[in-house]
Amino acid sequence: MGGRGESDLWPVEPDTGWSRAGRRRRGHGHRARDRGPIRRSRDERLLAGVAGGLARRLGWDPTVVRVLILMVSLSGFGVAVYVLAWLLIPADGETEPIASRSLADRRGIALALAFVPVFVIALLIGAALGASWISSLAVPAIVSAAGLILIWRNADPTEQAFLHRAAAPVLQLAQPADGSGRSRRLLLRIVAGLALLVGGLVVLLERHSARATFRPLAGLLLIIAAIVTVVGPWWLRVARDLVVERQARARAEERAELAARVHDSVLQTLALIQRRADQPQEVIQLARAQERELRSWLFDGTGPAAVGDQDSTFAAGVRRIQEEVEALHGVTVDAVVVGDCELDDGLRSLLAAGREAAVNAAKWSGAPVLSLFGEVEESSVSLFVRDRGIGFDPSAVPADRKGIAESIRGRMDRSGGTVAIRSSPGAGTEVALTMLREPGRRARSARPT
């Protein structure tokens, strides 16, 4: 789960629905170290997302960072540092930290400054009682309290909503008791917790007798029990809310992505079709192009962007010829490919010649449908381009068409392939292209297009 939202900050691709999807896929589940400014994570957070953000920056597991922070927090200073980080580090997708917004919040600052006298008093009491732990705890406690006030007042709406939810039980307690079972239970819990806490502190701070090596341990256990009693259920609820929130966000993202994709493709095409309802040939073309795109998304899991400029396999190359010829010449191209393999120079020439033949057929044959059939075999690759158009008499080829035939033939000859053109007037034309494969390359099975 480490760092899924990070790339939202540094979009490097044109922001189309397809690339959004690509980013999401790549972003998911990697724990690579992240460059760029540190941000509080929105996805990977239990409280403010500081640990999540830090983990992402360092490329560590968030849990490790959390445990480290928790250990540092035992002294009290860790808490203050955490609160300061919360205040000073912007959240994902934001440029300004809460602190910079707090500067404008005079009342908040005043409230935070009100802790200064409290701090002084705490120091005085500590000195008077000779209890140094009071003064050593006072600094982080005061810093944390002041920080929390500023955060509380200036966090962005989503974070504030979270804070309100988290603090709900406390606020509820502050309200005049309405006698409901819920607040009575909460009160009971707090009383029980306080009793345990006091008990624990007493045991802990008592002058230890020799046989009481276990006393501090018992005291600690009591304190932990107190914390669990008071904070446990509340914390469970907060954690659950966080999970729910995260799921809701994931669903919303999913939906947005789907909506973007449908908009980019299907809705656009439907709009175009409506506008060109009087041009059946164009409507067919649009519908077919859309069908192919949708199919490749649904069944192959690839968007049109994934096909790329440089086709790397024979089947992808044939698919590209199909798309281009359909788009440019308004004919339907049925393409079937059996097997697949990586492209080499010879096969690129084969595809180029095949494209030439298909364009030729689309332009001259007059047939509304072309058939492309590619087959990858152990020792050779062949491509057939067939139409049922007007055809021609190969022995009486007009000069302009001879040139095109030569460009197909010449291309294949240079790469060591063979061409067979069969045509007769009225029966259509078929161009058969064959290229021997370089030895050592095995056929890779792939679905026909």
């Binding site: 059939f373 152990e378 099975s445």
Partner: protein
């Protein structure tokens, strides 16, 4: 050939009403459309009732794949034994197509097929022949890809295509009609049909390891 034979009784199964209307219009008077259904359950019921010669079956229905209809009708008993299925669908994954063929469909054509070709296909299926579209031919060639070295056939009879069958399939994939194939190979159209039916039988009965693996790679069990 459609003139000599009686008009086949056709049943349409597709969840899109518009599409059913379109097919009805395209089939015209050459066939008799005896009913239509938009989902698996009503299709099974009505087919059992009206006993059509040919069912034009969409691969994807709201409550499941078209093969559910085929297997339910097949297991219904003697009365429906004469009902033949032709899968008529669009942009499908190979595993769905192969599943419906293995369930017992006599062929697969894409919805982009022209009206006359569809009528021809219906007549063929009604006569007990198989109908392969170029795409299905491609799927089958792919599934039965020749690599005997690492894929031993358990039943050579069923698990391999003969060179002639392979040739016929290649020509179908290249966009040839049966008649053109017959001329190309200097055989009769009937022989072409025999080859295609043999391929269909192999496709349905073969337990070929290769076919299983090919299907598994495409998430078909």
């Amino acid at each position: 050939m459609s003139l000599e034979t009686p008009r086949p009784r056709v049943f349409l199964v597709d969840d899109h009403e518009l599409f059913r209307k379109g097919v009805r219009a395209e089939l015209g008077d050459d066939v008799e459309v005896v009913g239509e259904a938009d989902d698996v359950e009503p299709a099974i019921e009505l087919i059992g009732e009206r006993l059509p010669d040919v069912v034009l079956l969409d691969l994807h229905l709201p409550s499941g794949g078209g093969q559910l209809v085929i297997s339910a009708v097949r297991s219904a008993g003697e009365a429906t034994a004469g009902v033949k299925f032709l899968a008529l669908s669009v942009s499908d994954a190979p595993e769905d197509v192969i599943a419906v063929i293995r369930a017992g469909a006599r062929g697969y054509v894409t919805k982009t097929i022209s009206g006359p070709e569809l009528i021809d296909a219906v007549h063929r299926v009604a006569d007990g022949d198989a109908v392969f579209s170029p795409r299905l031919a491609g799927f089958v060639l792919d599934a039965f890809a020749a690599s005997p070295a690492d894929q031993p056939a358990f039943d050579p009879e069923l698990d391999q295509l003969t060179p002639r069958e392979r040739e016929v399939l290649r020509l179908i994939a290249r966009g040839y009609t049966y008649k053109e194939i017959a001329r190309e190979l200097s055989i009769s159209t009937k022989t072409v049909e025999t080859h295609v039916s043999a391929v269909l039988r192999k496709l349905q009965l073969s337990s070929r390891h290769q076919l299983t693996r090919w299907a598994t790679e495409r998430r078909l069990v």
